[in-house]
């Protein structure tokens, strides 16, 4: 139960900071709007508004904003604690840091869902996009699972933020490789062959493929079907979580050896 308390308390705490700090508007409202607008204009001019441009632009924009939000929130929450001098204070409690970060990541995942919905609203309201989903339930299930996979990936990366003071560099460095590698905006088939193993090792890559199955009638994607995509993403995400738990243990010990909790 103490672990559940740490998760729920950190979820609530992240929510309170979300309300208290208006800067959340940038990653959660303004950035998604800009990304979607650029993507829609770009795909519309290339494909003349025909074909799958809505799929790639709207879903791509949504996924990009969700990953950006997850990375920004998970990574910066540790950086914020470090600057604020509260990293030592939370580490001095009997709740492991991994549970605290999990609670915050879950809040970020919820915000990610709102981001995705916002993107859809922007597409419909400002760009008059016809969003007809082939299989709405499958679409939203894949959407939700992909978001959890992104959060698990965010947790895995956030362990590195315990060791480094350079949160900005790390965040920027991890943002675009995931945008490109997971095929958010364009199919990974367009990428050089040598990048495919890396792309396929990312859970959200399979999730995005599943989302496209749910959105488009007759979509072929990786050719393994919707549920296989979900299954592979689930297994990879479980691996992310297991690795995150292990790494948090390692980095916490390392930080206690190096005495870098208080440095900022």
């Amino acid at each position: 139960m103490p672990r559940v308390r740490a998760v729920t308390a950190s979820f609530r705490h992240q929510f309170l900071h979300f309300l208290a700090d208006p800067q959340w508007l940038i990653p959660n409202v303004i950035l998604p709007f800009v990304i979607t607008m650029v993507a829609l204009i770009m795909f519309e001019s290339v494909q003349g508004g025909e074909g799958n441009f809505v799929l790639y632009a709207v879903l791509g924009g949504g996924m990009m904003s969700m990953w950006g939000n997850t990375l920004y929130s998970s990574g910066w929450s540790i950086a914020f604690d470090r600057w604020n001098g509260t990293l030592e204070e939370v580490l001095a409690t009997p709740s492991g840091l991994v549970w605290i970060i999990m609670g915050r990541s879950l809040w970020n995942a919820l915000i990610g869902i709102l981001n995705g919905v916002l993107i859809l609203v922007i597409a419909v309201v400002f760009f008059d996009v016809d969003l007809e989903l082939a299989y709405p339930i499958l679409f939203f299930f894949a959407f939700f699972m992909t978001l959890l996979s992104l959060s698990a990936l965010g947790m895995l990366f956030s362990s590195a933020f315990v060791l480094t003071r350079q949160a900005g560099v790390l965040t920027n460095g991890l943002e675009y490789p995931i945008y490109i590698g997971t095929g958010c905006m364009f199919p990974i088939a367009l990428l050089p062959f040598w990048t495919n193993p890396l792309s396929l090792s990312l859970g959200p890559t399979w999730g995005i493929d599943a989302i496209r199955y749910g959105a488009l009638e007759g979509y072929e994607g990786f050719g393994i079907g919707y549920w296989a995509d979900i299954g592979i993403m689930f297994m990879i995400s479980v691996f992310y979580l297991a690795a995150a738990f292990y790494l948090f243990g390692v980095v916490e010990r390392r930080a206690r050896e190096d005495a870098n909790f208080a440095r900022h």
Binding site: L16, N84, T86, A259
Partner: protein, 325 residues
């Protein structure tokens, strides 16, 4: 106080390794150098020492935030290196200062978050938060964002946070630093109450009168080593053969102070600035013989009063640190 040992530090060493540039050879700093001591249940144990002496490093090791390079620490029977979570449940930590609080949320929200992280039972949580807010006199401002608090209010909130899990052992790192006299007095009253309630406290401070007033025993730390460990009375007895010439004056320069230090028979000199005058405390063996040379050295016009006093804990501390230099 009973005889049960609740903190046991044995042959404790902490070395910091750092480098200024990438790939440059790491530099080593010995912060804590082979110290050992024990703290009994119900005791208020003080650590005195100059900046950089190793006090905060020692506290951070005892509270599981840092790993010792070598040696062992046991708190309430648990090894802090091997079993940190068992230790964290039963201790409180007050690091103090302007940082260490979530300033964009309220005091109540800060306390509620930490209550949850310490897994304070839900049926006790709100009552304990209200009691602590009352105790540190923050009830009226409990629902104001911490960023709008004064330094003293933040320090009081730190104290409340350190007590949120009703800890058996409380570590206080300079808990009164930056507080105005009235707030510091209130903090000391609270510390005494905690001892009366049976808590074990470990306190670091720069204020000698505070250590003298509060602590059962004091470890004087200098350059990472314990140079003395005794009761305040015992420490003062180390300098019982010394007399203190207290000089009050104006316009006394650092050069004057250095000249006093060079006088034969002078053991140590400390200088403080009061609101309206300077006060020098000159440690000598024989006050009657040294009164005139001390006054003459400073010269006329600078001295407004000279008197002989009994040595205090500050004199003992200065003597110990100087002896170790």
């Amino acid at each position: 106080m009973n005889s049960e040992t609740v903190i046991e530090c044995k042959d404790l060493v902490r070395i910091y390794r750092s480098s200024d540039r990438f790939l440059k050879k790491k530099r080593e700093t010995l912060a804590v150098n082979n110290i050992s001591f024990e703290v009994k249940r119900g005791e208020l144990f003080g650590m005195l020492g100059p900046n950089g002496a190793g006090k905060t490093t020692t506290i951070k090791m005892m509270t599981t935030l840092l790993l010792p390079t070598s040696g062992q620490i046991k708190v309430l029977g648990h090894d802090v290196a091997k079993d940190p979570f068992a230790v964290r449940k039963r201790i409180g930590l007050v690091l103090g200062g302007e940082r260490g609080l979530y300033t964009r949320v309220t005091a109540r929200q800060n306390l509620r978050y930490f209550a949850d992280l310490y897994a304070v039972p839900m049926n006790l949580r709100e009552k304990r938060i209200n009691d602590l807010l009352e105790r540190v006199d923050l009830t009226e401002r409990a629902d104001t964002r911490v960023e709008d608090y004064s330094r003293g209010m933040k320090q009081r909130l730190h104290l409340a946070k350190g007590l949120i899990n009703d800890p058996e052992v409380i570590f206080l790192d300079e808990p009164t630093i930056g507080l105005d006299p009235e707030a510091a007095l209130e903090a000391r009253r609270m510390i005494k109450e905690l001892v009366q309630e049976g808590k074990t406290l470990l306190l670091t401070t720069h204020y000698m009168y505070e250590a003298d007033e509060l602590c059962d025993r004091i470890a004087v730390i200098n350059k990472g080593k314990i140079v003395a460990l005794d009761t305040p009375k015992g420490l003062k007895s180390l300098v019982k053969d010394l007399c203190i010439i207290e000089v009050e004056g104006f316009g006394i320069t650092d050069k004057d102070t250095e000249m006093l230090r060079s006088l034969p028979g002078v053991k140590a000199v400390s200088a403080t600035m009061n609101e309206d005058k300077q006060v020098l405390r000159v440690q000598v063996v024989e006050a009657s013989e040294m009164l005139t040379p001390v006054a003459n050295k400073l010269g006329e016009g600078k001295v407004i009063g000279v008197r002989v006093k009994e040595p205090t804990l500050e004199d003992a501390y200065l003597w110990l640190v100087k002896e170790d230099a």
